[in-house]
Amino acid sequence: MRQPKQPPAISKEAAKACDEAIDAMLAAYPDLHGALVSTADGHVVATRLPQGWERGDVAAMASSMTALAESVSQRTALSRCRNVIIEGEGGHITLLKVDRALTLTAVGKPTMNLGLQLSACRSCAEQICRSMDAQADGVASSTGSTRAHR
């Protein structure tokens, strides 16, 4: 599979961490169609979507949806938006912010339980954060600098 071009602000190591995390999630939950990690401004970072799905469109739309949801959530005094759920006739799409820069989108089959899907996505997001923290720690210790990626 051709790897998507990485946005400049996302390192190859971070993209690899996203790849590994969504691979692990999809292996653990076969009732997920696929998943995608994208930047907050709509670029693909890592993707495991079925062939024929336009991942660039999904990444851009995920960015728009999460930004709009965040606006609605704040305007209605619900504070920060934790996730966005789209209920389609053929399953659920869940969008979850991994951190300020990344969003995780997962597409579930009709047989996938929504609660389970959200739980799987949270675990996946946490895994990505842990990996990126570990990478940042490694960079900081080798350069003597402090980190602040989130």
């Binding site: 946005p7 400049p8 602000a9 996302i10 930047t39 907050a40 401004d41 709509g42 670029h43 660039g56 469109d57 990444a59 851009a60 739309m61 960015s63 728009s64 949806m65 930004a67 709009l68 965040e70 606006s71 305007r75 300020r100 820069a101």
Partner: protein, 186 residues
């Protein structure tokens, strides 16, 4: 009875769409900014990824609903969503970009079907003193496309500039409506 008029601000990344709406909105505008992770980051730290929204009440009681589009082509689906029902378009072009006229052509093409049924005004931002095209070149370019959209230099940070853009757009709308009313039936 007062009317509500939907106006869409579109144009290149960093041209000043979000700023223009914020300049004139009577209420705190809705913005959907996200951290810019690509070349846009060199221009500004965040970028619009869904829409901007503001409102402006006119002296006669009519209300302008102002929508801003994301500038990047990958958000084209938002352009189509936002263009529906719009009565007018403000196209902002950053005159410091490599090919501002090509940029303008892209937006005129993309919004063409909607602009044909409404009106558009072009605001050229980021300096009339840079090496970009002058107003005459813009007018010539638009004329070659057999259109007659008003063009002016504008500073989106200045409310009076943005109000001038919208006054011009509303006048163009009235003219196009009057022309359509007076046009002989075929």
């Amino acid at each position: 009875m007062s009317a509500e008029i939907k106006i869409v601000f579109t144009g290149t990344v960093g041209a000043g769409k979000t700023t223009a709406i914020a300049s004139v909105s009577d209420r705190p505008p809705v913005a959907t900014d996200a951290l810019a992770t690509d070349d846009t980051g060199a221009l500004k730290p965040t970028t619009t990824v869904a829409l901007d929204y503001g409102e402006m009440r006119l002296p006669d009681g009519d209300k302008l609903r102002l929508y801003g589009t994301p500038g990047q082509h990958r958000f084209r689906f938002m352009w189509e969503i936002l263009a529906k029902g719009a009565l007018g378009f403000v196209i902002l072009v950053d005159n410091t970009r490599p090919s501002p006229l090509e940029d303008l052509a892209g937006y005129l093409d993309n919004f063409g079907p909607w602009i044909e049924r409404s009106a558009a005004v072009v605001g050229v931002t980021h300096g009339e003193y840079c090496r970009g095209p002058d107003l005459e070149q813009y007018h010539e370019f638009i004329s070659r496309r057999e259109a007659a959209h008003p063009v002016m230099f504008t500073d989106p940070r200045q409310p009076r500039h943005v109000i001038t853009l919208m006054d011009t757009l509303l006048a163009a709308l009235e003219f196009s409506t009057a022309s359509a009313d007076g046009a002989p039936e075929t």
